[in-house]
């Protein structure tokens, strides 16, 4: 569902890159450090404008149909987007409400699933790096968008956590979702690997 | 007696001063007591959560 692309800063990182994704597919973007993975993801979710070309979603340029695209897409970047002064629960509540989910059950289930149930009343500033990353990924569970764009989702996350998240990715793909992610490690589950398209930069 | 309360025309100043003093001393006594109650309540709750 996407097409041609551009550059960053003064140097062109990738040019005439182009690919299509259909429902149920996972796109794994790989490449050495500095090859432009983050740049590409930010273009895909509309935070950066490509130097040339455009990104299409359901066939429309995402700049013209920005609101549909935003509603159907969740981006999780290098930074977690959590408020250190709110508790884990409050953070997830705000995130849920901002994406139209008012169901406490969904929120509670997500906390349990992510292994944060016991930490729900702790301020996020007091969580460890990995716990914070898990909470950030909780956005995926409360929003239920079609397109997930994840920039190194597994940083700071332990093996258990990785397992949980990969399971979520699988069920999302089985439910006809689309995932775009970067990661320096290979995906471990065969169910993921069989649905996976890889794009290597440089 | 009323002359005593009159304070030679300075009643307002003198009695406000004494009143303020009384109020502030009282607050200083009340705050730790309230804190005591709250702390004991919190600690008990925490302990009862821990034991079962």
């Amino acid at each position: 569902m996407e097409a041609v692309q551009g550059a960053r800063g003064d140097r062109v990182l990738f040019s005439s890159l182009s690919f299509n994704l259909s429902r149920g597919q996972l796109l794994h973007i790989t490449g050495p450090n500095g090859s432009g993975k983050t740049t590409l993801l930010r273009i895909l979710c509309g935070l950066l404008t490509p130097l040339e070309g455009m990104v299409r979603w359901h066939g429309h340029d995402i700049r013209s149909s920005a609101s549909t695209h935003r509603r159907e897409c969740t981006y999780i970047g290098h930074r977690d987007g959590l408020k250190a002064e709110l508790t884990a629960l409050e953070n997830l509540q705000v995130n849920a409400r901002m994406s139209g989910c008012h169901d406490t059950k969904v929120i509670n289930d997500s906390l349990r699933l992510l292994g944060l149930w016991d930490y729900q009343d702790l301020l996020v500033g007091h969580l460890s790096a990995g716990q914070r990353r898990r909470l950030a990924l909780g956005r995926l569970l409360v929003k239920r968008a079609i397109l997930w764009i994840l920039d190194e989702p597994f940083t700071a996350i332990d093996i258990d956590g990785r397992d949980i998240i990969e399971a979520q990715l699988i069920s999302h793909l089985q439910g006809d979702g689309i995932v775009v992610l970067t990661s320096h490690q290979a995906l471990s589950r065969p169910q993921l690997r069989e649905r996976c398209v890889t794009v290597s930069l440089q | 007696m009323s002359e005593f309360f009159h304070m030679g025309g300075y009643a307002f100043y003198v009695w406000t001063a004494y009143g303020m003093a009384f109020a502030i001393l009282l607050i200083n006594v009340v705050v730790p007591i309230v804190r005591r109650q709250r702390l004991l309540r919190d600690l008990r709750r925490m302990k009862s959560r821990k034991t079962p």
Binding site: - | F4, M7, A17, N28, L43
Partner: protein, 249 residues
């Protein structure tokens, strides 16, 4: 040596909690008694001043609270320094419990001062050196309290606020000597002069008694605050559990 051992024991949280708990009732009773005597002497016995009339009776709270505002600050800075240098937890607790008490004395000195200033100088407030520096003292107290509240981790909060308290000590001599260094509206030293105090004994007596009463009051409230702070800080130790058990069978 005995004294040293006493302090050493006193500095252990558990002993402090116990000893302070047993001291409070006695101290509180003495404070109340002195306050009542002071008020009686100050309001009924002492004669009106020949210049200021009855308004001077504000002195019996203004001067003790002004003195206490400085004294408490020095206690706070001193205990903070002890806590930072010798890493004694109790010293930090004393320092941080002193801050709100000192702030209220300072506030009281300011309020009573301006209630006294209105009839005497004809203005609620003038920007002279002593008044200003007392106001700065209030801000310093508030700064220490705000900094203490701003950190989540208690130990960091105590030490950071302690450093600020020590840095602010410079203000204390400025307040005290301001009336000598600058010619101001405010009264010069009348009581604390080294030779004979230039004040009549029937006025001096209630003033001194009230001062002692304020000092004791400070001790009582400080111990009360410090006890609960210690209990909170030590909530993980066994003796706290024992204590709680003892309270609610």
């Amino acid at each position: 040596m005995r004294l040293f051992r006493f302090f050493h024991r006193f500095a252990s949280p558990r002993e402090f909690f116990r000893i302070a708990g047993s001291m409070i009732p006695w101290l509180a009773a003495t404070t109340l008694l002195l306050l009542l005597i002071g008020l009686y002497l100050g309001l009924f016995v002492a004669p009106p001043d020949y210049q200021q009339g009855e308004s001077y009776r504000i002195m019996f709270i203004h001067v003790p609270s002004a003195w206490m505002s400085l004294f408490v600050y020095m206690v706070m800075a001193g205990t903070a320094a002890i806590g930072l240098i010798w890493r004694i937890k109790l010293a930090h607790v004393i320092a941080m419990s002193s801050a709100p008490i000192g702030a209220s004395f300072t506030f009281l000195a300011l309020v009573t001062g301006s209630l006294w200033g209105k009839p005497m100088w004809g203005a609620w407030w003038v920007w002279d050196a002593r008044l200003t520096s007392e106001l700065i003292l209030l801000f310093l107290y508030l700064g220490v309290m705000a900094l203490y509240a701003a950190f989540e981790e208690r130990r960091t909060a105590q030490r950071a606020a302690g450093i600020l308290a020590i840095v602010g000590v410079i203000n204390v001599p400025i307040i005290h000597y301001s009336v000598m260094w600058w010619n101001t509206l405010h009264q010069g030293p009348t009581v604390t002069k080294f030779d004979a105090p230039s004040i009549h004994p029937s006025m001096l007596a209630p003033l001194l008694i009230m001062s002692v009463a304020f000092m004791l009051f400070y001790a009582v409230v400080l111990l009360m605050r410090a006890r609960w702070e210690v209990l909170d800080q030590e909530q993980r130790s066994n003796w706290v559990d024992d204590y709680l058990e003892q309270l609610s069978p």
